[in-house]
């Protein structure tokens, strides 16, 4: 039961950047001429001395920023690339959902593509014929299966790709950001299917940027950065480590800042209930933020605002002093304001705060700092989505469900 299905031993992968893309005889000749003495080898180590094992039936999540080497790692395990140094070993049949529908030919019909794709994944014709109905059914494409796939919508394309890959019945399933594509019903279908795989004791490797989901699915998470393993362990532990790392490293990604600077926001400090500085809150806790400002001259009736967004830049909540019914008198010099949010209802994850100060009529924007202040939320409440809303169930008054 618990022997290693995948083993990766001291694997490094180098890409030679100059060789990538269109290379011509001329450039090769020039390189050779120059390279007699010194080789201008611009190279990138996508993976550096990576070692780990995955046991039978284990679901391993891979997280890390862009360029961390996650996809390269899956490509090595899928066998489409060779490691520069080291060794990978995978026992059993591998099926990869690296890019859904990658093998499809636009001019062939859905039916022909199922056979082509299934065959590339290593099924023989009899096996494909047996699974054909299940594939079409799962993809929900019975009416279109004899149409060329170039007439499919992108959603249909992806559904068919997923259906073929999962029906290939692999021992090891590699999944690269599949959860990010497709609509909500399709994503649910994928998750459901992955759950089935787990129950069958199959091994999975999943890349996702969707931390809450990967935390729930995985038995173990590997955290990669710049081609090295920074963390390997229990999902909650590694996600926490990753979020902390993320806060320190790339908090500036979505950050933007503009305004006339007639009033300047000079600092924001997040405080816990005891008044100590923090950047992490438990669900239901009270968040306090101290906003400091400095003015040039006297400013009549300024409005201070804030908003909360997720790491993808999506707005979750925003408000300001005007909406809250707080009419500030004129301000001058330095000062501070305190924002208080009782009973935080946000779900697990990282959120970015934005702060702004503008004129009463909204025409002049003095200073605005967007997505610059990350805050982590860790909640024990169990629910779907990014916000916890009060809800309750009642049995029907006419006797209830079981009547």
């Amino acid at each position: 039961m618990s022997q290693a299905v995948i083993s990766v031993e001291h694997v490094s992968k180098r890409f030679r950047l100059q060789f990538r893309g269109m290379r011509t005889l001329k450039s090769a000749a020039m390189d050779t001429l120059r390279g007699v003495w010194r080789r201008p080898d611009r190279q990138l180590w996508a993976l550096q001395d990576v070692s780990f094992e995955v046991k039978q039936g284990e679901c391993l999540g891979l997280i890390g920023g862009n360029g961390a080497g996650k996809s390269t790692l899956l490509a090595l395990l899928a066998g489409t690339m060779q490691p520069t140094i080291g060794r990978t070993r995978v026992a059993g049949k591998v099926s990869s959902l690296l890019e859904l529908g990658a093998g499809f030919h636009p001019d062939l019909t859905g039916r022909e593509n199922i056979y082509l794709c299934g065959s590339i994944l290593g099924l023989n014709k009899r096996q494909i014929a047996e699974r054909f109905d299940a594939i079409v059914d799962f993809a929900g494409l019975a009416d279109f299966i004899d149409e060329p796939v170039k007439h499919y919508s992108s959603g249909m394309y992806i559904r068919l790709g997923f259906a073929v890959a999962v029906e290939a019945d692999p021992d090891v399933l590699l999944i690269d950001e599949v959860l990010a594509v497709g609509d909500a019903p399709f994503q649910r279908k994928c998750l459901h299917r992955m759950d089935d795989f787990r129950k069958q004791g199959k091994t999975m490797l999943i890349i996702s940027h969707d931390l809450p989901t990967i935390q729930t699915i995985s038995d173990r998470i590997l955290f990669l950065d710049k081609g090295r393993i920074l963390g390997d362990g229990a999902p909650s532990l590694i996600v926490e480590q990753y979020e902390k790392f993320w806060r320190q490293q790339n908090k500036g990604d979505l950050r933007s800042e503009w305004g006339t600077h007639a009033v300047e926001l000079t600092g924001v400090e997040f405080l816990d209930a005891a008044g100590a500085a923090t950047a992490a809150y438990a669900g239901g806790a009270t968040l306090r933020a101290r906003v400091r400002y400095r003015t040039r001259g006297r400013i009549e009736n300024p409005v201070f605002g804030f908003s909360i967004g997720d790491v993808n830049g999506r707005l979750i909540h925003g408000s300001n002093t005007q909406i809250a019914g707080l009419r500030l008198p004129a301000i001058e010099g330095s000062g501070e304001l305190c924002l208080r949010m009782p009973d935080l209802a946000l779900g697990n994850g990282i959120y970015l705060f934005s702060f702004s100060v503008h004129s009463w009529d909204h025409k002049t924007n003095y200073h605005r700092i967007d997505n610059a202040f990350p805050v982590a939320i860790k909640t024990d409440r169990v629910f779907d989505g990014c916000c916890y809303l009060q809800s309750a169930w009642d049995a029907g008054s006419d006797g209830g469900v079981g009547a």
Partner: protein, 261 residues
């Protein structure tokens, strides 16, 4: 090499599906469809016959030499034309799934072989109409094998090289034309053998496997005498060598296809 053959054989169903795909896609949404593989060489023969006729060079046997030559060459020419795109044009497949890469150019060569075999029927009808009784049937499989070996070997090489140097696809047209004139497609080999060329050049003529292959096909179809066995052996040996070298180069280069695409 042996492992490779076993691997390809174990994926013969994939190979089969890819061959069918190649044939289907080539003629998809064209009115004449498959007939194009016959119409093309017939038109080509028409053009050559017209110009050679104007130049007064069509006499006696030259028309049947032309017909057999153009049909046999058509297979080589189609393979060379398709070869450069077989890996580069399937970048998506290569990067996303693991399977023996050689299957891609090989399926192209086999798809074109199907075309060639069907066009051979047309040639046969022509030959019978011209009053020839084909013979030497035992030589046909040998010629077909050598023919496929040459097409495959060169295609493997070009397909792999094009991943690293995209110039290859620009050069293949020119290379094909040069090879066309160096091979006795439009002319009979006697033209070279009886010319005043240096003896070592005449000896080198059969180093081009297409020389022996064209002679072999004409011996079968038109009842021409086979060239000396030493010359035929030279051509057939070269065909085998080309296949082996092409495969070895391909195997060496395929390890980094995913990195380069």
């Amino acid at each position: 090499m042996r492992a490779l053959i076993e691997e390809i054989f174990s994926r013969h169903e994939l190979l089969h599906i890819l061959v069918v795909r190649n044939i289907k896609i080539r003629y998809k949404e064209s009115v004449l469809g498959f007939l194009w593989s016959l119409v093309n060489p017939v038109l080509l023969i028409g053009i050559y016959a017209l110009f050679l006729g104007i130049l007064g060079r069509i006499e006696g046997k030259s028309f049947e030499i032309l017909v057999t030559g153009v049909f046999v060459w058509q297979y080589v020419s189609l393979c060379l034309g398709d070869s450069a795109g077989t890996i580069v044009g399937n970048a998506n497949l290569i990067k996303k799934s693991a399977f023996p890469r050689l299957i891609l150019p090989f399926s192209m060569v086999l798809a074109n072989l199907v075309n060639f075999l069907l066009s051979l029927v047309v040639v046969l009808v022509f030959v019978l109409c011209a009053g020839h009784i084909p013979g030497l049937w035992l030589w046909l499989p040998v010629m077909l094998l050598a023919h496929v070996a040459v097409c495959a070997g060169v295609s493997f090489f070009l397909a792999a090289a094009n991943v690293y140097f995209r110039d290859v696809q620009q050069v293949t047209g020119l290379l094909t034309m040069a090879w066309f004139f160096l091979s006795p497609v439009l002319y009979s080999p006697e033209l070279v053998m009886k010319s005043g060329l240096a003896p070592w050049l005449k000896a080198a003529f059969f180093l081009n496997p297409m020389t022996g292959i064209l002679c072999g096909y004409r011996a079968i179809l038109l009842g021409y005498p086979l060239p000396p066995m030493s010359d035929m052996a030279l051509s057939l040996g070269m065909a085998a060598l080309i296949l082996i070298l092409g495969t070895l180069v391909f195997q060496r280069l395929e390890k980094r296809f995913s990195d380069e695409l």
